[in-house]
């Protein structure tokens, strides 16, 4: 059993437009706050299996689990700066990406 340190969410890129998406309770979401959170290793494996299914179904590409912390509102925020960037958009262009209201935020 892999060591499970942090809750995780499943991140991917949407096939048709490349936008960053997160696996939510019922399908892929463009807002990371709606992502399904795995709190145990077997839940993470289940998320991954769903990811594999949707890779095969040609919905998403580049799917992986990312460590998150859960805020007081219950929403997950990635721990690593790379994924912190991915949930918002370029840090040098605040007018672009999810942070600018493009996509779901």
């Amino acid at each position: 059993m892999p060591v499970f340190k942090h809750p995780q969410i499943l991140i991917a890129s949407n096939l048709t437009d490349g936008e960053v998406v997160f696996l939510g309770p019922s399908g892929w979401e463009r807002d990371h706050r709606r992502a399904r959170v795995a709190r145990k290793a077997d839940e993470a494996t289940a998320l991954e299996d769903l990811g594999k299914r949707d890779i095969s179904a040609n919905r998403v590409v580049d799917v992986y689990l990312a460590d998150v912390e859960i805020g007081s509102d219950g929403a997950p925020t990635p721990l690593h700066y790379r994924e912190k960037m991915r949930v918002k958009g370029p840090s040098v262009r605040l007018d672009l990406g999810k942070q600018a209201g493009e996509g779901a935020l």
Binding site: Y81, M85, G97
Partner: protein, 574 residues
């Protein structure tokens, strides 16, 4: 005296100095677009898996990045017409987010195209004789050249006919479509290297021998990335008639002996390093002697046909210096600064070469908005025969501006935020996209460039500091050329934080050197302080006429290291 060639002067201000597709080129590019459209459709319908599709999209310059897809468009040897520049702007507006990123490899990258739109984008590019072929993958990539080609006073010969000759040879070269790794060729025809030929897989330097014959000094095995190397001379004087055969021989040796077992050791630089240049030279010469060279025999007519596309535009005969320019400089100091810093000598009397900086203070190096691209296109038509260049320093060049027109040009550029007078200075920073866009990045690089540029926002201080190349990469792949920066900055991850390693003494020109590491990595916030300390130390130590790199070379790395160590003890925590 007149420099006007009446055969090419029918259309005033029409761009003459670019290669035009012939029927073969046009058919080949449009076939590729149709083929890719089919591949995208098959991907979207699920007939192709991502694994099957990836090589096809990469063959057309389409990557998947951190936030979106990214499309890399080739700008062969950096030359663009106004029409092409306008098309790049239109594509940015229609299918991207209103801007593009000019890179160190004379490409333009769009950061937000949708997969479903890319066939339309490629079709739109093909209409203006552009494409994204061989901007990715293990093939011979876009051939780059001196951005002052054809106009530099120090030039022996315009390198672009050679680059175009090589492009035609290497495009879809079936034997070299699946090399062990990517392969980059750069050409210069001048006494000063502006194409960084010593850090390319093959660097070509046009030279003249004692009898006046033009040939090539051929350098092999340079490169940056994880293991940086300066290229070594494999052929001292290769006559033009042998060039293709000689390059073919090098590529064959590489294709045969290059390592395919380890991606990180697959570049020709590793082969040259492991075998030694003498063994490589012997192998190349043996291959050259044994091969059937007839297939690559130089066709002088074809070379001349290509060279004719790069014939000089219809210059006017003008006095060597412009009276109105002198007056305008006296009247408008900001313009005078621009001329002093961004305008260079031209080989034709009365003309000048203008570098348009894509590095406004605090801006994103290499980015241009679609509006700016249109202004540049207009400016080139009004003042420069409709021709533009992209430099490997991520700037735009207007290569043929009348000195009399410089003031009008400057006013136009200034109104568009394109008149930053910093070419070659400390804020003219090369930076790769880093973690703001790139999926391979280990740290951000653009914000570091912005912070340094803001720290040195006083332009008179920048001019006092003089020529200084600051170059930043967001990971060891070195797309921002940090190894050859007089001050190089490499973004890494250390204990879950962005950390920056600084090197000193890099040089991309004929006196090429790889920078040496200054000490342990520093945080993003500390980088501008470190750069400032280094600059201050240089200013205190420099002798008359020395650039930063000269002072560093004269007094040595250890002294620079020392001064920072002392600063660190003073509490600067460096």
């Amino acid at each position: 005296m007149t420099a006007v060639d009446l055969r090419v002067a029918q259309r005033p201000n029409a761009p003459m100095t670019t290669y035009r597709y012939d029927e073969y080129d046009a058919a080949f590019v449009s076939e590729r677009v149709a083929e890719f459209r089919e591949q995208v459709n098959r991907r979207l319908s699920g007939a192709l898996t991502e694994e099957e599709f990836r090589p096809f999209r990469l063959m057309n310059g389409l990557y998947l990045q951190l936030h979106a897809y990214m499309l890399r468009v080739a700008i062969p040897y950096g030359t663009l017409t106004a029409r092409q520049m306008r098309r790049l702007a239109d594509i940015a507006d229609k299918w991207d987010k209103g801007y593009g990123h000019f890179t160190t490899r004379q490409n333009l990258q769009y950061n937000w195209p949708k997969l479903v739109d890319t066939p339309d984008i490629l079709e739109s590019l093909a209409e203006v004789e552009m494409h994204a072929i061989q901007t990715s993958g293990n093939c011979i990539r876009n051939v780059t050249a001196d951005h002052f080609a054809g106009v530099a006073p120090d030039e022996i010969e315009d390198p672009r006919p050679t680059a175009e000759f090589l492009r035609q040879w290497s495009s879809l070269h079936s034997e070299f479509s699946f090399l062990p790794r990517k392969f980059k060729i750069a050409v210069t025809g001048a006494a000063h290297d502006r194409a960084a030929i010593l850090v390319h897989d093959i660097g070509l330097r046009i030279v003249k021998n004692d009898t006046g014959e033009i040939g090539y000094q051929v350098v092999v095995g340079g490169g940056l990335g994880r293991s940086p190397f300066i290229g070594k001379v494999v052929g001292d004087f290769v006559p033009r008639k042998d060039l293709l055969a000689f390059l073919e021989a090098i590529l064959r040796v590489y294709n045969r002996f290059g390592r395919r077992d380890n991606k990180y050791k697959a570049r020709v630089k590793i082969l040259v390093h492991e075998k030694g240049i003498d063994e490589i030279r012997a192998a190349v010469e043996a291959e050259f002697a044994a091969m059937d060279r007839s297939a690559f025999a130089h066709d002088p007519e074809e070379f001349e046909r290509i060279a004719a596309f790069f014939a000089p535009p219809p210059y006017e005969s003008l006095p060597a210096t412009s009276v109105s320019l002198r007056a305008a400089k006296l009247e408008t100091p900001a313009f005078a600064n621009f001329v002093d810093v961004n305008v260079g000598a031209h080989k034709i009397p009365g003309y000048a070469i203008v570098t348009v900086s894509l590095k406004p203070i605090g801006g994103v190096p290499g980015d241009a908005t679609s509006e700016q691209m249109r202004v540049l296109a207009d400016a080139s038509e009004r003042f420069g025969f409709g021709e533009l260049r992209v430099s490997h320093e991520q700037n735009i060049i207007l290569p043929h501006v009348k000195q009399d027109d410089l003031f009008a040009l400057w006013s136009m550029l200034d109104a568009a935020g394109l008149a930053t007078a910093n070419a070659g200075l400390v804020s003219d920073i090369i930076s790769c996209p880093g973690l703001d866009y790139c999926s391979l990045a280990t740290a951000r690089s653009i914000p570091i460039a912005q912070a340094i540029s803001k720290r040195f926002s006083d332009m008179s201080r920048q001019r006092r500091i003089g020529k200084l190349g600051v170059k930043i990469s967001g990971c060891i792949n070195a797309c921002g050329h940090h190894h050859v920066g007089a001050i190089g900055i490499l973004g890494l991850e250390k204990k879950g934080q962005e950390s920056y390693q600084i090197t000193l003494g890099g040089d991309p020109t004929f006196s090429a050197s790889i920078g040496e590491i200054l000490g342990p990595g520093v945080t993003a916030e500390q980088v501008p302080d470190v750069v400032e300390h280094l600059v201050d130390y240089y200013l205190a130590e420099r002798e008359e006429g020395e650039a930063f790199i000269d002072t560093w070379r004269r007094i040595g790395h250890a002294r620079f290291k020392d001064v920072l160590r002392r600063e660190g003890e003073d509490g600067a925590d460096i």
